[in-house]
Symmetry: C2
Subunit: 236 residues, 2 copies
């Protein structure tokens, strides 16, 4: 629970983690300015879902920020490269090909600039250690280091105001715990997408069911004892 | 002098600091990938000068990265607001209206992502304590904190590679020392622009001579015992 701050910037990807993060911030009474990055990711499904989630969860505003990723070429998420499927160990091991260089560093930096512009001192991001999945900029020590840097980069932190704070309410939660927390906070998970390689029809995205993100999601719902309301290729 | 690294990313604004920074990196034998941000700043003159400088100083490549600054509205540099003129104390005091929220945080984050993409571990930025001029993200402690965060955000730093390093060769130099260092390293300062409110003709930018940046520049050349080859409104 945050006291004293009535507004926050919440990074919203359209996935279940950021949806839960937004729902938790809303439940705590915060006026939430959702921020979604359109960076040419293959899953335009994310933008579609983010818009539905921002509305469903009562975000005060929703900004879709277009980011040129030409300098960040090389990720399977943006270049049409091979997305790994049917991996047994999606949460461990080396950095996968879906890694976008320094993505959270760039996203959080822009979120910081946006927060300062609208006089908000609190930024929420739904990273967690399961989601780490080999991405270096999902680690708690990165978030801590970024918070320090961001606090120093802004006017808020240097003119007597409250310095910028990065909130990561999901950091230590398992995927199952996130799904339970999101359910408690009122997330409609049918509105979320996780798949790295979804198809798309007039009703929205259809998950492949086989990429790392689908496997982690499926295991999370199973461990939470809940049914995933998302549509999967094998069911449609 | 850097050993073991043959390539670097150099932030190049078109001003005299970043031009000197690039010239110093080139003199040290580095293959330099210059990176300029087009963020809607009023001084398009900067882009013009950055292109001439990259060529003049033998940059290996030059990327002009377009950044949407709609979320960072509010600075006199991007909105057409009032640029302060004829201030006696341009290097001191409160944060001026030319401040762009968290600008160096965003620039360095994108430079980090770009560096990782092209497998470069060294990023140069020409910030210095004189240029601080009230901008919180020009302070040495911000650069240190950012370096830590960036080192953790990247693949390079987590898979046995050399972590990303932010180099600030001008950090402790006065404007006069920077001008002398740039002269020694071969910068043609006629190709640089500093003015926050320049006019522009077919030969390039014409400085106002009265904004904070012009005053700091003029004092620097005077202290260095050199003549500024830039064009000023009162001379053209």
């Amino acid at each position: 629970m945050i006291t004293g701050a009535r507004a926050a910037v919440v990074l919203l990807s359209g996935g279940l983690d950021s949806a839960t993060c937004l729902a938790m911030a809303r439940r705590d009474g915060l006026s939430c300015h959702a921020l979604t990055f359109d960076y040419g990711q293959r899953h335009k499904a994310e933008i579609h879902c983010a818009k539905r989630l921002a509305q469903s969860l009562g975000a005060k505003s929703h900004t879709v920020y277009t980011l040129d990723v030409a300098p960040f070429a090389g990720s399977a998420l943006t270049t049409g490269g091979h997305v790994p499927k049917d991996r047994d160990n999606p949460g461990t091991g080396e950095i996968p090909s879906t890694y976008v260089p320094a993505r959270n560093l760039v996203f959080l930096s822009i979120a910081t600039a946006y927060a300062e512009t609208i006089d908000v001192s609190d930024v929420f991001i739904g990273v967690n250690t399961v989601d780490y999945s080999g991405y270096p900029d999902c680690r708690p020590e990165f978030i801590d280091a970024f918070s320090r840097a961001a606090g120093m980069a802004t006017r808020l932190g240097t003119q007597g105001g409250r310095p910028l704070t990065i909130h990561t309410p999901l950091l230590r939660l398992s995927k199952a715990e996130i799904i339970r927390a999101g359910t408690d906070a009122g997330v409609d998970f049918a509105l979320t997408t996780s798949c790295y390689d979804p198809q798309f029809d007039e009703r929205g995205p259809i998950a492949c069911g086989r990429c790392d993100a689908c496997i982690l999601r499926w295991r999370g719902f199973e461990a939470a004892g809940l049914t995933d309301p998302a549509r999967y290729l094998e069911n449609v």
